[in-house]
Symmetry: C2
Subunit: 487 residues, 2 copies
């Protein structure tokens, strides 16, 4: 008797198939299951980005090529902001405009370093951001090496009188940037700790994971409104060289020069543009990145690609078959790099935004920032207010592009959106692989050639898809929900 | 009946075993075959080096740490030579001494470059060796980009009046350095070709295979005793940036400054030391490398490791159970980097040696030079005078450490030994893998951390073993032998 295999398949086989399907759904994001309308659009946007149909690479290429380095308060930062606002308008964004704010700008000037004893040798150095200049003739001092900031902090008061204190801590390479977080206090606190013990200058092994003759700069932190002594970073091979000479039993004496200066009446600006929501336009999903960069490179991965990712994701959302329910707002912040931990200089652009838009913050349903380069996103984190259903939907859309759900809400969502978060706005995070980021971060090597287009596209895919889900949903992420929100 | 398996094994199996043995012998260097006494010593030296029992790393570490960059004619080159001569003496070498000679030394001074239109952007540049300075205020000019030196040569006379000519040729990454050889004429000839067409300065995409913001320097060639216009190399990302701005349809105008100068009464020196032969000490096997370096790095791989390899190999020979028949002479040449193709500046140290030792050259049985970094040796080449027997012995000793026999005599054995070769002395070559060498060559990145110790040891093993075989043999490498010399 002929049988219909579909109807009469073996019951055990059928249940096995169901189990396999369920397992696949869990493991692979359940593409086979029916999708809701927002999920279906999110998948379309995701796949368009993956196929290279986004403007991300073109954006970062043009930004870095036309404007080069964009230090906070510089003419190139202003010009880049004007270009970005005009470009966002021409791309069809609404409400594209610039919001200016005053800053204290720091300018590197010229600088040099050399070993002068036991034998003259040049050094590759760069002043840390906010470092005061040296005297015009430079300064000379014997180097005292500390293996870590903790070791410097253990030195007795007055023990470094007339010396140049050097913190020689290595940065550990990690996927999540934990190695950087561990080492960076040497950069932010070292000059202060050295000065407190009488040092006339501070030297730092670059906080970075490469071994090139390039220097990782970054801000040193103020104490009483200033960095107390001239502070320089060294390339890793230069730090090695000083270490080895010292190990030969010889005192290393260095000459350091910097003509760094401050421009107290400078200004910077945030660039803002929107895709207005179709149902609740007053509700804002904020996508942030920063337009300023350090001065040695062209700010391609810090944070040219961040601006490219959020603009390209928002543009895909702009061009979707219909508008999302909520407004998607892109904010390209100014002057992120020179921020200090305490006001008035703390996260200039972020504070200016939160202050200008204070009344709207109650309607900011979610904020996120892209500021860790261009390598792939490997996990996403949602605030406690995310429903279990929403988190599962996000996982179904993001898991097929290699993104897992994080174990808990975002630890840190980005410097610029910090003031919004402090004001009570919930944040999401798309965590990028930082394994190679700190080879390049804050160095002259931060140039367009370091951008991997396929990884950039994966970032745009993740942002477009997740932001669509957020913007087209009814979930109130501001609600304090159960811990079950994280699948 | 009990059987002896060795005597009664199956005849087919036995012949198969013989075939396998013969194939292995051909493929693997026939370690199973009996070795002659020199071969046995060569194997001992080789294996001692592979086990790390050589002073190569210690040598290059101390040389680069104590003296840093060693530009031709500099105090650090002189001091390094004095240190090397003293160290060779203390290591038990005979006849350790320094032979000085006059040179025209070039000093970089300070330098800078920037794009000044369409928007100001800094450039990472370095003057090419022997480049004249710019005017004290620098010079400005519009860039005209040529994809290759050939394209520049095709430009009409006068067509570059007032312009800055830029050769933008990429260097292809190859094992044998052929990519470098193809691109380097842009560096040596570009300034002259540009000046002939009216250009006021010359810019070159670095001849190198990396993508860091570091510049590959190197000499430009004289025409009538001078480089005609200021000549600079750019880092690869800077060349990319100029290219991209030009592709936006904009004219790139640059500012260039250099205070380079010449020190006409400078001197340099060769350092010489020997392991005297036990039977025919007048017969010399010469091992060369150069002690000077470019000024941006510390000359670790160019050519600190070369000096380390030949000194460490000679020291292993010095400490062998008995002396070789012939004398092994180490020559650490001065002022290799600034050589010109025509006298009087051509290969200063090499010419000084060949001139000082002209009468002995008839007894120089073989010369070789290590000057391609620290990556592994993959082939060896012998002169036509090598007997088939000698070549097979060398292959047996070298093949187990991954070294093949080259298809013919050495193409080019090294700049410093060139004048000896021109005088009729035969040469050997141990070819190193240059796949990564031109990432670092002539850049600030040429520092100790780039030295791979296990690959350095393999070089020492190859040099010690092959030089032992040469020095302990009766083969007259100067004889013109049959092409069968190459196995």
């Amino acid at each position: 008797m002929p049988t219909d295999p579909a109807r009469h398949s073996h019951p055990t086989l059928r249940s096995k198939f169901a189990v396999v399907l369920a397992l696949s759904a869990a493991a692979l994001g359940a593409r086979a299951l029916p999708t809701s309308a927002p999920e279906s659009v999110a998948v379309q946007l995701r796949d368009a980005a993956l196929a290279g149909h986004s403007l991300a690479y073109e954006w970062v290429s043009e930004l870095t090529t036309r404007f080069g380095p964009r230090p906070a308060g510089s003419a190139s930062e202003h010009q880049a902001a004007e270009w970005a606002a005009a470009r966002l308008k021409s791309l069809g964004f609404e409400n594209a405009h610039i919001e200016g704010f005053p800053i204290t700008a720091w300018a590197r000037g010229s600088e040099s370093g050399a070993i002068i004893a036991p034998r003259a040798q040049p050094l590759v150095v760069a002043a840390l951001g906010e470092s005061p200049p040296t005297p015009a003739a430079g300064l000379d001092g014997d180097v005292v090496i500390f293996a870590s900031l903790a070791e410097l902090k253990a030195a007795a008061p007055g023990s470094l009188a007339g010396k140049v204190a050097m913190v020689d801590e290595r940065t550990v390479r990690t996927q999540d940037g934990a190695g950087y977080s561990a080492a960076v206090e040497g950069r932010t606190e070292g000059a202060h700790e050295a000065a407190q013990r009488g040092a006339i200058a501070f030297l730092l092994r670059s906080v970075g994971t490469d071994n090139h003759r390039i220097v990782h700069t970054g801000t040193a932190h103020y104490v009483d409104g200033r960095v107390p002594v001239p502070a320089f970073a060294l390339s890793a091979p230069d730090a090695d060289q000083i270490e080895r000479i010292a190990r030969l039993g010889q005192t290393v004496r260095v000459h350091l020069f910097s003509s760094a200066s401050y421009l107290p009446n400078a200004h910077s600006q945030n660039v803002i543009a929107e895709v207005r929501g179709r149902e609740r336009p007053q509700e804002v999903v904020l996508l942030g990145a920063h337009l300023d960069s350090w001065d040695q490179g062209t700010g391609a991965i810090d944070d040219g690609t961040g601006t490219a990712i959020v603009v390209a994701a928002a543009k895909l959302i702009r061009d979707a078959p219909h508008r999302p329910r909520r407004t998607v707002r892109v904010v390209l912040f100014g002057s992120e790099e020179v921020s200090q931990p305490v006001p008035p200089e703390s996260v200039f652009g972020g504070h200016a935004y939160a202050s200008n838009h204070q009344a709207e913050l109650v309607d900011h349903v979610l904020v996120g920032e892209s500021d860790l380069g261009t390598d792939r996103v490997y996990s996403f984190a949602l605030p406690k207010g995310a429903s279990v259903e929403f988190a599962r939907s996000a996982l179904r859309v993001l898991n097929p592009i290699g993104i897992l759900a994080a174990d808990g809400p975002p630890a840190e969502a980005g410097a610029d959106v910090g003031p919004c978060i402090d004001a009570g706005v919930p944040a999401f995070q798309l965590s990028q692989d930082a394994t190679h980021y700190f080879d390049i971060h804050h160095t002259p090597d931060d140039t367009l050639d370091k951008v991997d287009r396929s990884q950039l596209d994966q970032n745009v895919a993740a942002w477009a898809a997740l932001v669509w889900l957020v913007a087209d949903s009814d979930v109130d992420f501001r609600a304090a929900a159960a811990s079950a929100a994280h699948p």
